[in-house]
Symmetry: C2
Subunit: 251 residues, 2 copies
DNA sequence: GCAAAAGTGTTCTTGGTACACCCATGG
DNA sequence: CCATGGGTGTACCAAGAACACTTTTGC
């Protein structure tokens, strides 16, 4: 694309290695909500730089595939499934010349949101993948993956505000409490269950009732829903206060 | 990054050309509002494929620069200035294997918003750049640049909803009418001047009054503003109806 | 009965929409 | 004095925030 704009005007038809050949890696930040914590899928590195350190799953793109396809392939290889409900979107591009000590590697990072799988089956093709809470992973990753993770978490928080993607964190059937807990965990806030209920149910196409219910350890059974067809959330859900412990119906 | 995850487990330490070396181009979609039209900066291609066709400005990244830096460099080279008020953000990555007939080229596209410059000075380093209305450029561009342009326009529309970036389309000092016209042109809608006024002035940090005024050809002088420090626009401005010609104060 | 979670209804307030109306300038 | 845009004020309505109250289960 836009080949050699500068060379086209100068006398030299092709300046040989002013622009170089390089490798492109597709890295995926797979996020989920497990045990009321935001968790990220990590692998342990074995090779050269940062051997033994945790890192984001990823790999180089192949000859005949787009970067998107590579990211999706990596996701399947690492998790064993990119099942329904999985969401994959471009996050950003990381291209500082010195970011990889072995040479020039440009990384295209993707953000994936998925339900809390019963741990990726480490045996098939998912080699060393494991879930780790984002908070404990922060600051320990190889290369510039810490920054990528931070960007991913911030993107996920934004996505929950203006889209219905919170359902991507939930299994096929979920309760309002499940969905609300996703927001609370990702945002680090607490939401009013009653207002949240109305907001979600009154947004046409956000969720659809399945008619079935699930009984919690204690309390009234909750209706089960599945995610609806609508992706955009208008008007958006806005997060404001942080770490506010509401005392609710004091009496 | 995430070097060779698949090779690290198999017996073969490095599968030589399963992943290839390739080139990365940075392409920039520079948008502005001129003559009440959304316009895009284009260049005319001279070389091999699509010679003579219009295309987005861009070029290959160099050895020692990031993709961001390459995009910013291209922007300066094509327009002669990336002056204050210019906004540059990552748009998307285009990496279909067959998108460039000469070989594997992955393009990282950026979106730039800037005021209506007095036409890029075609003489210095800005070679063949010119403004073209988006509507007339649509469908005529080389490679897959038509799709990139479409993505850029959609992104720009989204940005106006939830950020104060509309000011990036305006010169250093502008009136409320100028700013409103940006929204109307980019969105293709018409907005109520009075409500728009209040919305903007009541959003703290969106714009700051300069104290000066500008007298239109006919009518009351308008107060001049400069863009404020706030980037996020909460609550957002939502576009709804399209092409509604309001009759306003009928009497 | 009691704790815990689900769910409904009601009030208050904020912000958007649709206008009527006034202001200031050039021709 | 009138056409043309700039700017203020107001009534109405939709949606979020806060919270009282009821429902349905397990223990």
């Amino acid at each position: 694309v836009s080949i050699e704009q500068e060379g086209s005007v100068s006398a030299v038809p092709s300046r040989p290695r002013d622009h170089e050949l390089l490798r492109i890696a597709a890295d995926v930040v797979v996020l989920t909500v497990r045990d009321d914590l935001l968790q990220v899928l990590l692998v342990t590195r074995h090779n050269d730089p940062h051997a033994g350190d945790p890192a984001l799953p990823g790999g180089f793109i192949r000859i005949d595939e787009s970067v998107d396809a590579a990211a999706r392939r990596e996701l399947v290889e690492e998790t064993g499934l990119a099942g329904p409900g999985a969401h994959l979107e471009l996050l950003s591009v990381y291209s500082e010349p010195e970011r990889d000590p072995r040479g020039r590697v440009v990384s295209v990072a993707y953000l994936a949101l998925m339900p809390a799988l019963p741990i990726p089956t480490a045996g098939t093709d998912a080699r060393h993948a494991y879930w780790a809470p984002v908070e404990s992973a922060r600051g320990t990753l190889a290369f510039d993956h810490d920054r990528i993770l931070d960007d991913a978490v911030e993107r996920a928080r934004m996505r929950l505000e203006s889209t219905t993607l919170a359902t991507a964190f939930c299994p096929a059937e979920f309760t309002m409490g499940d969905l609300r807990r996703v927001y609370e965990v990702v945002w680090g806030t607490s939401l009013d269950p009653r207002n949240f209920n109305r907001k979600v149910t009154r947004t046409a196409g956000f969720v659809e009732p399945t008619g079935r219910v699930r009984t919690p350890p204690t309390g009234r059974p909750a209706a089960l829903y599945r995610s609806g067809p609508v992706r955009a959330l208008v008007p958006p859900l806005v997060r404001e206060v942080d770490e506010v412990e509401d005392d609710d119906d004091a009496r």
